[in-house]
């Protein structure tokens, strides 16, 4: 820091203070954040065992397990993405490839922005009233997924848009100039090149879904049972499919409920599982964006 100026340094007490503030704030923040990760991880790690991850909590036997919540989380992720990804990608294509600047585009961009800013409690209230009562879905995984679709839509739209923007215009004019239809160009040129961006949006959406609690408590509920499977294939399929109309709590909901009941050990166990999931999501993102950069250089 001393060689920033060529000349003899004037004494500036204010600067020393600011530097101290930077170091102080940073060390508080860094220690706090690293401490949180370490604390949750080590506190939760001790709770984890195969039974915790593969069984369902039993009031009769007094055992604790989160298998049902893991399954519910997967269900909600799958259904939400199944609905949100096509809509989000389609919307982004419209905004980037078809729309001309004007009121409609402004409105779409404003509402997308707004959607990402609405707190999850409001989504929860809306889901409870609209999907739950008006559409009659009650507390169900489907209701939770539909509600979350609204929440993650902006993430997918924005990331897809950004990815589409990085596709050079020469690709578009090249394809169109060779007589390809616009739709053909989008399908064969734009979407493949924008794939990493879309994936980024999808993975960020997964992160948001995994972390959500308030919106799901009012819409998907908190049940934690696994579907019972027999030997009859058709029946099994209908049970697996039918589960989407039943209530189910995700890992985060279960964490909240356990914490509310003072079962801190279990709560930290779930916290540790969630930490690992988020870590995996972040690594996946790094790999994808890293690859995208590599392709970009080629």
């Amino acid at each position: 820091m001393g060689n920033d100026t060529l000349y003899q340094k004037r004494k500036r007490p204010g600067e020393a203070f600011l530097m101290a503030a930077i170091y102080g704030a940073a060390s508080i923040a860094v220690l706090l954040l690293l401490g949180i990760i370490g604390y949750v991880f080590f506190k939760g790690f001790r709770v984890l065992n195969p039974a915790f991850l593969t069984t369902v909590t039993s009031s009769l036997k007094g055992t604790v397990g989160i298998a049902g919540n893991l399954l519910n989380t997967l269900y909600i992720i799958a259904i939400t993405l199944l609905i949100a990804t096509p809509i989000g990608v389609g919307g982004a294509i419209y905004l980037n490839e078809y729309a001309k600047p004007g009121k409609l585009v402004n409105l779409i961009e404003f509402t997308t922005e707004t959607l990402s800013g609405i707190p999850s409690v409001i989504f929860g209230l809306f889901g409870m009233v609209f999907f739950g009562n008006v559409l009659g879905l009650g507390y169900s995984l489907l209701n939770g997924s539909l509600t979350l679709t609204l929440m993650v839509l902006p993430l997918i739209v924005r990331n897809t848009q950004e990815a589409l923007r990085t596709v050079p215009d020469s690709y578009r004019s090249g394809a169109l100039g060779m007589g390809a239809t616009k739709w053909y160009m989008i399908r064969t040129i734009l979407l493949p090149s924008a794939k990493p961006g879309i994936l980024t949006g999808v993975i960020l959406a997964v992160g948001r879904i995994v972390g959500e609690s308030a919106a799901l408590l009012f819409t998907a509920g908190s049940a934690r049972i696994l579907p019972k499977l027999g030997t009859n294939l058709v029946e099994n399929l209908s049970r697996i499919g039918g589960k989407i109309l039943q209530p189910g709590g995700t890992l985060t909901i279960e964490l909240y409920l356990q914490m509310q009941n003072g079962e801190y050990e279990v709560a930290f166990g779930i916290g540790c599982v969630l930490l690992v999931i988020v870590l995996l999501i972040n690594l996946l993102l790094k790999v994808i964006t890293g690859n995208a950069r590599k392709y970009g250089k080629q």
């Binding site: 389609g90 779409i108 972390g211």
Partner: protein, 307 residues
């Protein structure tokens, strides 16, 4: 679109594709419109029944009494004061940490800290709440016992108070603020820094006089997003804040707009339930104002950048 345009089928596919994409894009409008509509539909009946003045300026919340009272002034004030305090603590620490990571820190340290911050930006907010209950509340109770020892007027809360909730919120928004500010600081063109240093400004002067002003719009975004996240958070602070309706003083057990909805939704009925939706509507209005402010700021920022 095609040069020849002879294939009718293709033209149909083209227009169908365009229609589908337009519908997809309009989905956001539809969603916001129906959320707004339903929030208003479910939030206004109680206003007509109870009266807007009594709701917004009443301080007594006794929703189930024989003569129910639905005043949410303290709840609104708690959300405003709580969010402001959380921002006052979280934002300076966050920005200074971002400066540290982008400008001051050794690259090796930054390489360890950055992923940790990203990880924390992604973890469920309830985990912050869990730490708040498990670690912060007992500490706060000890402090409470010391400060109010012998007091007969103070209602003891066992550490579940505004201050605990504010700290949880401040820590919760920290990763978001750090992430966005750091990105915007790093996006400042190196030429600005070089010019400032070349003119003889010290590193600190360069940071505070040249780099931070240049990164202003990103930092403002970080602050607004932090405000949005803090005012909208519910589950992390329901238990940490004690959840009784009181004036927002540091050691009072308090209830936020969000926690008011979450904690009483389960058992409420009739006007009480409608009232919770009204609280939702108030929160919704707050958020819309923040969103509009954000778009204004971003547009202004873009305009300034364009100059």
């Amino acid at each position: 679109m095609t040069i020849t345009g002879k294939n009718k089928n293709k033209a149909v596919v083209e227009s169908v594709a365009q229609i589908i994409f337009t519908v997809c894009a309009s989905f956001a409008i539809l969603a916001v419109a129906s959320i707004t509509l339903y929030m208003i539909l479910s939030g206004t009946p109680a206003i007509f029944k109870v009266g807007l003045k009594e709701i917004l300026f009443g301080t007594v919340w006794k929703p189930t009494a024989a003569e129910p009272k639905f005043g949410i002034l303290y709840v609104i004030l708690t959300s405003v004061v709580g969010t402001m305090l959380a921002i006052l603590i979280g934002v300076p620490v966050g920005i200074l940490t971002a400066v540290f990571l982008a400008e001051v820190a050794d690259k090796r340290i930054a390489r360890i800290v950055k992923p940790a911050v990203e990880l924390l930006a992604g973890i469920p907010s309830v985990i912050y709440g869990l730490l708040g209950i498990y670690l912060l509340n007992p500490l706060m109770y000890k402090l409470e016992l010391k400060i109010f020892a012998g007091s007969t007027t103070h209602q003891f809360t066992g550490g579940a108070n505004l201050l605990s909730a504010v700290l949880v919120l401040a820590i919760m928004i920290l990763p978001t603020v750090i992430n966005i500010s750091e990105t915007s600081i790093r996006a400042v063109p190196p030429s600005i820094k070089a010019a400032s240093l070349a003119l003889g400004a010290s590193h600190i002067q360069t940071i505070f006089r040249s780099i931070l002003p240049a990164a202003k719009s990103g930092i403002v975004t970080a602050i607004v997003l932090g405000v949005g996240r803090a005012i909208g958070e519910a589950m992390a602070i329901t238990l940490v804040s004690g959840s009784s309706v009181n004036a927002p003083l540091p050691f009072n057990s308090v209830r936020f707009l969000t926690t008011a909805i979450v904690s009483e939704m389960g058992y409420s009925q009739g006007t009480h339930r409608q009232m919770l939706f009204t609280i939702g509507l108030v929160l919704f209005v707050f958020i819309m104002l923040i969103n509009i402010a954000l778009t204004k700021i971003l547009k202004k920022g873009a305009a300034e950048d364009g100059e």
